[in-house]
Amino acid sequence: MRRLKEIHKIQELVFELKVGEAKAEKVVTLSPTTMMSEVRAVLKSNKIAAAPVIEHDSLIGIISVNDYINWLAKGDPDCPVYEKMSREVVFLFEDEPVVDAIKSFDKYGFYEFPVIERRSGRFTGIITRRDIILGLLKAIEIDYSKMELSSYSGRHFFNETAADEISLLFTYGVEGRKIQRGGEVASSLKRNLSYLGIHPEIIRRVAIATYEAEMNLIIYGEGGEIGVRMDMERINITVKDTGPGIPDIQKALKPGFSTAPDWVRELGFGAGMGFPNMQSCADSFEIHSTVGVGTTLHMGFPLEASENLMECNP
């Protein structure tokens, strides 16, 4: 199904991409006073079949290989191109869609067309079939990445559901010490968020932060609860435990600080990057803890991916 959507996108591009966007700007032109005898060299060395004749930024005619051959065949004396050029030039406007250019190529059989800016009448470049292909390829690449961004919309679910206010709440229980089950919650959440059509980069951040929090609950917190609340703007995650609590929060937040016992380190954990990772993934991060009572964490993430969404690099 995605394939079909993509092909239709390309069809649309042909109508959306403008001649002005695809054209080549640095082009070879002739002045009206250029002599016919020079034309051959110009066309040959630039490997073009025709060159527009320009005076003061205005297109006044066009000289093609055919015009040159005719002049040569007749044996007329050398003269400025002004006298031999075709004055009836088929051109395209900057703002026309490339589909018109394509139709014109087919209709007239020319290899290229001069491009004119509609209002001022200025000559601004030339468009060839190759330019159109390159322009479309570029547009596809840009569009493709935009498509990726827009096909994920957290709002999608909320928009389809009618209510004055909507919020989704997922609650997960985490058992203490059951290290082999570590990551189950993060994994579940990851899946749920992808069903809801949340942008992959947001899911990634949420998953990483939740995973770290989950492991903390298992290793240190003696188990606890993870609550995920989603509304139209944000994903809010609350992690609660009734474990030993953290005596020095500032210290605990420092990268590398860890109270992990050896057996935990042997499993690859305990590097002391849990909190710092959570902080770099979440937009907002709050931690409250009381020794002997427990710890509560609040993390907030955006629901939508913005254009300048940075990758979470814990």
């Binding site: 590398g256 050896d262 380190r265 042997e266 690859g268 590097a271």
Partner: protein
Amino acid sequence: MRLKDIVEALELEVVTGAKWLGNEVNGGYASDLMSDVLANSQKGDLWVTLQIHPNIVAVASMRELAGIILINGRRPEKETEERATQEKIPILVSRLPAFELIGRLYQLGVSGMRDA
């Protein structure tokens, strides 16, 4: 190959152990798991790791390793540095990630092959 040559060739930062850069390096070992290093490293190995806690010094000392290289620009904990000075274990730092650093060490001729 001496540790000194490697430090120069890879532009490593010497955090501690400048006096012992004359150590002979027999091979390379990479792991972040203490049990692994204890079980499989060999005397004279240059150890590449991310771990910065003081246990790394104990392990390196026990196995008589040539030195420790921390990657990703990681700095050792204060206690780690102190212990390393005591135990005469050079600690070096590279800004490169593990794979890159190991690759370059390998290219210099520091091998990871063990005698069976």
